[in-house]
């Protein structure tokens, strides 16, 4: 037997007498069921943007000390060529002009990645970035990518004066990770 105080119709959906007694709760239970179905289905058509974030690069910005004020200021480098060590015939930047920063791919299979930076006047510096890595599934559609954690930097000092690590975690958000303070260029 039903336990509905004299409203003997067995079905929840057709028991209008009972619904009058408890309209609000039943209304909300059904409303949420319908709303959840409506809110779930539009999401099915969403396509993942896999291009962004598959190769996560470390961003190095160029800074120099202002001779007058003594303060650091971001600068453009007139031209720069960058190669990865072990991949010297494959430049990442090839005489690129007027750059305030460079975005460099770290080697996921190594503990550190080296780059040769060639500044104006054929002045070359080598920089080594020591890093850990973490495999990260972006989404079922996009698959895995690799995030990095910068643990140290070393460099030669021909043009690069010093550095500071601003954000050690390298993921798919482009932000300044390392500030490279370079010596002012002199016109030859």
């Amino acid at each position: 037997m039903l336990e509905n105080d004299g409203n003997q119709l067995p079905s929840f959906f057709f028991n209008f007498a009972a619904m009058k007694k408890r309209p609000l709760i039943r209304f909300f239970v059904l409303l949420v069921l319908l709303a959840s179905m409506g809110s779930i289905f539009p999401g099915c058509g969403a396509e993942a943007d896999c291009e962004q974030g598959m190769v996560n690069r470390v961003r190095m910005a160029f800074w120099t000390r202002n001779a007058t004020t003594g303060r650091l200021q971001q600068v453009q480098v007139d031209s720069i060529t960058v190669n990865g060590i072990n991949a010297l015939d494959n430049p990442i930047y090839n005489n690129n002009r007027r750059l305030r920063s460079i975005d460099l791919p770290l080697d996921p299979l190594a503990d550190s990645t080296g780059f040769v930076l060639q500044f104006p006047g054929n002045q070359k510096d080598t920089i080594w970035i020591k890093h850990g890595h973490q495999f990260h599934l972006l989404s079922p559609e996009c698959g895995f990518t690799v995030f990095f954690n910068i643990t140290g930097v070393s460099h030669t000092t021909r043009t690069i004066s010093h550095f500071s690590i601003i954000q050690p975690f390298v993921s798919n958000t482009l932000e300044e990770h390392i500030s490279l303070v370079i010596n002012p260029f002199t016109d030859n």
Partner: protein, 202 residues
């Protein structure tokens, strides 16, 4: 007209309900890579206050030529529901309740195939065997429950989950925590739709 004498208040009877979450299997139809199943048990300790226990398991699976990755886990929640409508015979056991839970889950994940394209350093192939990880989190929420017929009830609840702690290996970031969801951020909103069976009480 003479007023009827007040009826004797019914003695308190503990009510025990078993529930099954049907939102997990429904979501599996829409997101085939994820399957979460859980059951619940709640016992009315005193009028309007119910002890609640939930247990479940979840699987997440990606299988394509560049990625084979699986997560398996179990989760448990323990806490209480408090009926905000209070005991009212006219409502015939309908409830609007606040819920509070402490939850934890244990998982393993493994990836026999990981292939990552890297246009500069070349493609990377990697794999890892079963790694264990876990999580502890707290949940607060609000729910509704209404009688369908006989001892059967239906209801839903919305919850906000707050991650308290994660444990596990740092080499591979877990993608999914059973009972909590995707591993993005420390706060999650959740929704569950339950069918309940209340055990008859004498």
């Amino acid at each position: 007209m003479a007023q009827a004498p007040d009826a004797e208040p019914e003695p308190f009877r503990r009510k025990l309900s078993l529930g099954i979450d049907v939102s997990g299997p429904v979501m599996h139809l829409l997101q085939p890579e994820t399957l979460s199943q859980s059951v619940s048990l709640d016992l009315e300790l005193q009028p309007n206050l119910m002890a609640a226990f939930e247990a479940g398991m979840a699987h997440f699976r990606v299988d394509n030529p560049s990625t084979q990755y699986t997560v398996s886990g179990q989760f448990f929640r323990i806490g209480a529901n408090y009926n905000l409508l209070q005991e009212n015979p006219k409502l015939r056991d309908d409830q609007i309740f606040a819920l509070l839970r402490y939850s934890f889950g244990m998982n393993t994940h493994q990836a026999p195939v990981i292939s990552v394209e890297n246009p500069y350093w070349g493609p990377i192939s990697h794999s890892f065997d079963k790694l264990q990880y876990g999580a502890h989190w707290a949940e607060v929420g609000l729910g509704l429950r209404t009688r369908l017929f006989h001892h059967f009830f239906v209801g839903w609840n919305i919850r906000v989950s707050f991650m308290l702690a994660r444990t596990g290996d740092l080499q591979v970031k877990p993608y999914y925590f059973s009972g909590f969801g995707r591993n993005t951020g420390n706060t999650k909103f959740g929704f569950q739709y339950f069918l309940y069976y209340r055990l008859p009480t004498k």
